[in-house]
Amino acid sequence: MADKRDEQGADPGLSRRQFLRGVGVVGAGAGLADELLGGEKAEAAPLSQAPAGAILKPGMQKVTLNVNGADTTMEVEPRTTLLNALRNHADPPITGPKLICDQGACGGCTVLLDGKTMYGCMLLAVDAVGRKVTTVEGLARDGKMSPVQEAFVEKDAMMCGFCTPGFIMSVESLLQTNKNPSLEQIKAACSGNVCRCGTYPHIFEAAMAAAAKMRGGA
């Protein structure tokens, strides 16, 4: 694995040692674990301040993401997805977006990136730097759920609830641009999300109800 990456062109300026540290390579020696965890942490370059076009080196990088209106700084590898950064590296964890398929097939990790839907598992955390990330946790205002969230509760548009955050983000995004969607448009907007319990009919009802609520100026 490590060799392959080496061949595929790690930055030639990168020392073998830094490289090993980054990918946690075979036989690198247990001592490196300490460096990974402790001593050299401070070296991690804050990515948000990195010049545009900077080449990212393997290993932990300090990134600052703007999530739900607040900056949050965490350390991730360049290969860490936005989803895993939020769930496993942000402190406190942001777990509304769910990891379900890990390949952009189910929509469980849907977030808004600068207002548009994006699968959190299909975007690297480092590529979300400087952009506004909104998760299901960021929709409520002053402790009051958004009209979409309220409608999901009222219409019982959930069973186990694991897919719910993703569906809510998709419907939120739809209703931002289409105030009066047809059933077919709602289906299309939800076509990148999967529910196993079979909540779809109630999700469609909820989307309709939320749209009506929003048109009514609620």
């Binding site: 946690g24 460096e35 390949q103 509760v153 069973m159 909540t199």
Partner: protein
């Protein structure tokens, strides 16, 4: 002192798993007399639409599932699984993983033989999921491959490798009934006969939250185990064994779980492995299966091979049947409900067998063993009805005397507009831009035992300040058990649902049964009701003197306690609670057989559109009619019925486990290629609760909802285009092949 009187006992019917198929048995329980649900129309909350109490938590991301639990110092577990269906392991070298920075524990799970793709071999725990993933890739396993049989065709070929030594031809006879010669002879007397072989592959539960646990153990003598499970109380015992700890030192937590559908009992593989890793690292470990692993090693609905001959008389009576049924449960012994399923056939020969392959063991899946049998039986019913020229609904009514089915068939037929269907298979109008579209309708029916079990211990606490809580260790799979638990207490106390705090999903709370066989509601709801009644009795006893009456003269409604005969004499709920001592009230309730029932039905109908040029099938409408005794929360019952029908739609048209005979590997272990029904596949759906069922008991209904949908769709395809598809899923290639054969 007090006379130790033996409690009066009574016999009740309940359901136990026999060979994976829920079977009704009679047991003895104390006869407590006790409360009743009351007739229909007497409820203010129950039998209405109730908002899910955990709806806001789920809609805001606040609900914490096992997968969401992260504690300081927690490690990420990862499993290495066998890539071979059958092989001997000659060596496992984990040294590279052990030396990798950030890796805190490595365990070898198997160094002898693997028997299916997905058989766990080794596991690691590391400080990030990325490092854990890298580490498992460095583990070197040397395999010596052995011949495998992954399909029933491979397993039944001459000279096929034996999956189990004690079943040399890979077939295990499980049971059966009837005399074959007699049944064959009776078939000769039938006016119409049909002979079919039905083949169904494995279906996957595809729980969105994969199987997994988070073991919070840091080296002491206690541990907390967060588990994505259907059985909170199945966890501590298993974890105690794996951690080498006393059972009472372990707390299992199941606040929220992302789908089970029958596949999540016990601590399971990921739990066993996480415990070992955690013990070795002296640190908390979260281990969730990856999506491909979930397909390979978290079970399946067993496939089925069914050879059926059946006959009917001209006047619409089933005459005889010969049925050979093989469950295809991989390494496991799956199960199939016995043919002729729900219809009456006077002369039957039936045999049940398991046919083993080198695939992961099947597990219970929503209505285990029923959808497969339903598909065969309902297909046969429509074939015979067509042969004798009888309407399929009338033919069904002629062969079952159960009034529930008659009523539900009529209700569903009216809702879907049954009279619009082609009167003969394929006999309808051709339409569409290429004159290739045809419509048709079909139906199917289900049966399920359900029933309650006397395990639940529910506590209701009322405090001096008026706060009220109900507590029981049960889990909520998304069926809504948390909500009806609150609602039952609220109804009894005359309070809004939101006034009642519900504490569930913790093994330190009162005992509760695992959620299997649609037994949760019929086990839990009665105990909640009894606990609420008991708490109310204690509250009335404390408050009655303030109103100058006896406790039995009081009632509770609309947030007040009042004298039943003189409602003006009343006090608010808070005033009543203020009469309690500092400790408040704590009342326990246990199961009452009077409140639980068993035996439900269910009819579903589908209207489809078949494109005879492309073979594509689109479901236009589905109607479900379901009985469940007293529907505690109508909205939740409708959600369950919708969900069952949608899973049936997936079973009928989309979901297929592909395995490659040459490599023994599953070809589509991902949500990209294993097709689950999505938004664009949704037909118009009508879910109706059968209010003709006036039984004053509660009965689970989640399983029957998932049984007849695929049968109804298959029959609708037959009705639309005249082609009988004998294999699920009904993919375009099968439709075109069948149309071609017919032409």
């Amino acid at each position: 002192m007090a006379q130790q009187q033996k409690p009066k006992m009574k016999k009740i019917k309940t359901v136990k798993d026999v060979n994976g198929v829920p079977t009704e048995v009679e047991i003895e329980v104390p006869d407590t007399g006790g409360p009743t649900w009351g007739p229909r129309g007497s409820h203010t909350l129950l039998n209405h639409d109730i908002e899910r109490v955990d709806g806001p938590a789920k809609a805001t991301g606040a609900a914490k599932y096992t997968y969401d639990v992260r504690v300081p110092g927690m490690l990420y577990g990862r499993v290495l699984m066998s890539p071979h269906a059958c092989a001997d392991i000659t060596s496992v070298d984990t040294s590279a993983a052990e030396a990798m920075p950030g890796v805190k524990a490595v365990v070898t799970l198997n160094d002898k033989q693997v028997k299916y793709e997905g058989d766990p071999v080794a596991a690691v725990a590391a400080i990030t999921p990325e490092i854990a993933e890298d580490a498992v890739r460095t583990i070197k396993v040397a395999y010596k491959k052995r011949p495998h049989a992954v399909t029933y065709q491979q397993a039944t070929k001459a000279g096929a490798p034996a999956v189990y030594q004690n079943a040399p031809d890979n077939v295990r006879k499980q049971g059966g009934s009837g005399d074959r010669a007699k049944a064959e002879a009776a078939l000769m007397t039938a006016d119409a006969t049909v002979e079919r072989e039905f083949v169904i592959g494995m279906q996957h539960h595809a729980c969105l939250e994969t199987h997994g646990v988070m073991v919070d153990y840091t080296g002491g003598d206690t541990a907390t185990v967060y588990a994505s499970t259907q059985g909170t109380f199945t966890i501590p015992n298993d974890a105690a064994g794996a951690l080498g700890m006393k059972v009472e030192k372990i707390t299992a937590i199941v606040e929220y779980m992302g789908g089970g559908f029958g596949s999540k009992f016990g601590i399971d593989l990921p739990g066993q492995i996480a415990c070992r890793l955690s013990k070795k690292a002296n640190a908390p470990v979260r281990l969730m299966l990856s999506r491909p692993q979930e397909f390979l090693a978290a079970g399946n609905r067993n496939g089925a091979l069914q050879r059926v001959k059946a006959g009917a008389s001209k006047d619409g009576k089933l005459v005889a049947m010969v049925a050979e049924q093989y469950d295809l449960g991989g390494l496991g012994e799956g199960g199939l409900a016995g043919l002729p399923y729900i219809y009456h056939v006077p002369t039957v020969y039936q045999e049940s067998n398991s046919l083993h392959t080198n695939q992961d063991s099947s597990r219970a899946m929503r209505g285990p063993g029923h959808p497969q049998t339903s598909f065969a039986m309902e297909s046969i019913m429509d074939d015979l009805a067509a042969k004798i020229g009888m309407d399929p609904i009338e033919f069904r009514k002629a062969n079952t005397g159960d009034a529930f089915y008659h009523r539900q068939l009529d209700t569903a037929a009216k809702e879907i507009g049954w009279e619009r269907r082609p009167k003969t298979p394929g006999g309808g109008t051709v339409y569409g831009p290429y004159k290739s579209l045809k419509r048709g309708m079909g139906c199917g029916a289900a049966t399920w035992g359900g029933g309650g079990r006397p395990e639940c211990q529910v506590d209701v606490f009322v405090k001096q300040d008026g706060s009220i809580a109900v507590q029981v260790g049960t889990q909520d799979l998304g069926t809504g058990s948390r909500t009806y638990t609150a609602a039952i207490v609220a109804e009894e106390m005359g309070l809004p649902v939101k006034a009642v705090e519900t504490r569930i999903g913790n093994s330190k709370y009162g005992q509760a049964n695992a959620s299997g066989g649609s037994t949760t509601t019929a086990s839990l709801a009665p105990a909640v009701k009894v606990a609420a009644v008991n708490a109310k009795g204690l509250l009335f006893a404390a408050a009655a003197p303030m109103l100058g009456v006896k406790p039995e003269e009081l009632s509770a409604a609309n947030g007040k306690l009042f004298v039943t005969a003189d409602p003006n004499k009343s006090m608010t709920w808070k005033q009543a609670c203020a009469t309690l001592g500092a400790a408040g009230i704590s009342a326990r309730g246990e199961w009452s057989s009077e409140l639980a029932g068993n035996g439900v039905h269910g009819v579903q109908m589908a209207e489809v559109e078949v494109d005879t040029e492309t073979g594509h099938v689109r479901v236009l409408k589905m109607v479900g009619v379901q009985d469940c005794g007293l529907a505690l929360n109508r909205r939740a019952v409708q959600s369950q019925l919708n969900g069952g029908m949608i899973q049936g739609l997936g079973y009928a048209l989309l979901e297929e486990h592909w395995v490659d005979e040459a490599t023994g590997c599953m070809l589509n272990p991902s949500l990209e290629e294993y097709k689950l029904p999505g938004a664009m596949d949704m037909p118009e759906m009508v879910s109706l609760i059968d209010d003709g069922d006036t039984r004053e008991v509660v009965i689970g209904m989640a399983e029957p909802a998932a049984i007849p949908g695929a049968s109804a769709i298959a029959n609708a395809v037959f009705n639309a285009c005249g082609a009988r598809i004998t294999s699920l899923p009904i993919t375009p290639d099968k439709v075109l092949t069948a149309l071609n054969a017919k032409a």
